[in-house]
Amino acid sequence: MSGLWEVLVRHFPQFLSGFVVTIQLVAAAFVVAVVLGVVVAGLRVQPLAPLRLAGTIYVEFFRNIPLLVLLFIAFAGLRRAGLDISRFAAGAGSLGLYTAAYVAEAIRSGVFAVGQGQIDAALSLGFTYPRTLRMIVLPQAIRTVIPPLGNLMIAMIKNSAIIGVALALADDLLKEARVINSRTFQTNEVFFWAAVGYLILTVGTTFVVRYLERRLVIRR
């Protein structure tokens, strides 16, 4: 038991910096995912067929491709192609692009939940289509979308662990744990504390999402 605490105390700075890097990765990827997700969801509800198709292709491609393959393409692939992409950008960017497909789907179902009647009403009042989306549909859809967005955030925290160990793109929590483990060989102790770190993030997010859900969700 004493070994358990000793590992934490001795390597606390490393655990902490890994923890922080994981948060940074998820935060950066979340911004990319939400911005891009809104754009793709917008494409998917356009009246113009080619735009809809582009949205569908995006969603089906990024939802069905393994994140690890995406990381290889984004980092090693683009580097070989002569594009000088930074490690952090490749890691967080891939995670963001990947999650954006799910965000788009969540927003789209939120948009459908608003109902065709409201869209028709807005259009008949002389709102343009983009204006209807922006002023009538999105403000309502965003609220419906909060629980799934929170769940995607949790999924992103878990997925971010791939970034560090696969291509050493970031020194996140799992990567640091691996480094500490290779020095101490106290696998059980080191991974115990890394697990605690991840559970703080994922379970913590669960509670925040539940709180927001109670506060914001519209009852229909």
Partner: protein, 267 residues
């Protein structure tokens, strides 16, 4: 863009054994995926039944078990298992495993990979199934009890057939995620599609070990990725078809289980 579509950069695909080698690697992923899918569905159903048990302590213990495993990154579980399983066990496994089993079984890390995939996905699937079971109106269980059905009989004949039908879409998207996650086993040194892709990019251009045609990393991994996209896309279409057919057959739109993360995603 011209780099991407330049025919010279695609020559590798049909040169030598490259394509076959890639598909061989992909077959390993599929073998691991199928085994892990079966195990996760069985274990997931078991966990879900324990989760809705009549005894409070069984519920609590199962709930904690499920919450811990589904809130940890899969790659974390996989790395931990592969690092903590002693080498003597790994050699014992390799001696034990009969030769007629598919290639995927050959790696000493195979049990760790399948165990990690099952631990994680069974927890997620258990949560989906629990939601499916609990989404049924209370009257269903009460009616079954009023008809004199025992707990297990009402579970088997009334609750599960309806509850499980509701969770089919959510479960299929989780199985798609599982299929994608089989690429993670490359990190614990199992030879599969991603490892084979890297070998192709590293050796294909060499006049000694390869075919002398350069295989750009971007293109090779794009092809590997598209293999997964094709299989997963087919899976999701199949699930939608099943849903539509079910609706036509029964005339009732089956209510879906919603509000769980994994209907949308979890990897």
């Amino acid at each position: 863009m011209s780099y991407l579509v330049d025919p010279a950069n695609w020559e590798w695909l049909f040169a030598g054994n490259n394509l076959r080698f890639l598909l061989q690697g992909f077959a390993i992923n599929l073998q691991i995926a199928i085994l892990a899918m079966v195990l996760s569905l069985v274990a997931g159903l078991g966990l879900a039944l324990l989760r809705v048990s009549r005894w409070a302590w069984v519920k609590a213990v199962t709930g904690t078990w499920i919450d811990v495993w589904r809130n940890l990154p899969l790659i974390f579980i996989m790395l931990y298992l592969s690092l903590s399983i002693p080498e003597s066990w790994r050699t014992a496994y390799q001696d034990l495993i009969p030769a007629w089993l598919p290639d995927a079984f050959d790696s000493p890390f195979f049990p760790a990979a399948v165990a990690a995939l099952t631990l994680y996905n069974s927890a997620v699937i258990a949560e989906i199934m629990r939601a499916g079971i609990q989404s049924l109106e209370k009257g269903q269980g009460e009616a079954a009890a009023a008809l004199g059905l025992s707990y297990w009989k009402s579970m088997r004949l009334v609750i599960l057939p309806q509850g499980l039908r509701r969770m089919v879409p959510a479960t299929v998207s989780q199985l798609i995620t599982l299929n994608k996650d089989t690429t993670l086993v490359s990190i614990i040194a199992i030879q599969e599609a991603l490892r084979h892709s890297r070998i192709i990019t590293n050796t294909s251009g060499s006049p000694f070990t390869g075919v002398g045609v350069d295989a750009p990393l971007l293109h090779v991994f794009l092809v590997t990725g598209l293999l997964f996209v094709a299989v997963n896309f087919a899976l999701s279409r199949l699930s939608r078809r099943l849903e539509v057919r079910e609706r036509e057959r029964s005339g009732i739109a089956v209510e879906r289980v919603t509000g769980i993360e994994d209907q949308l995603e979890t990897a």
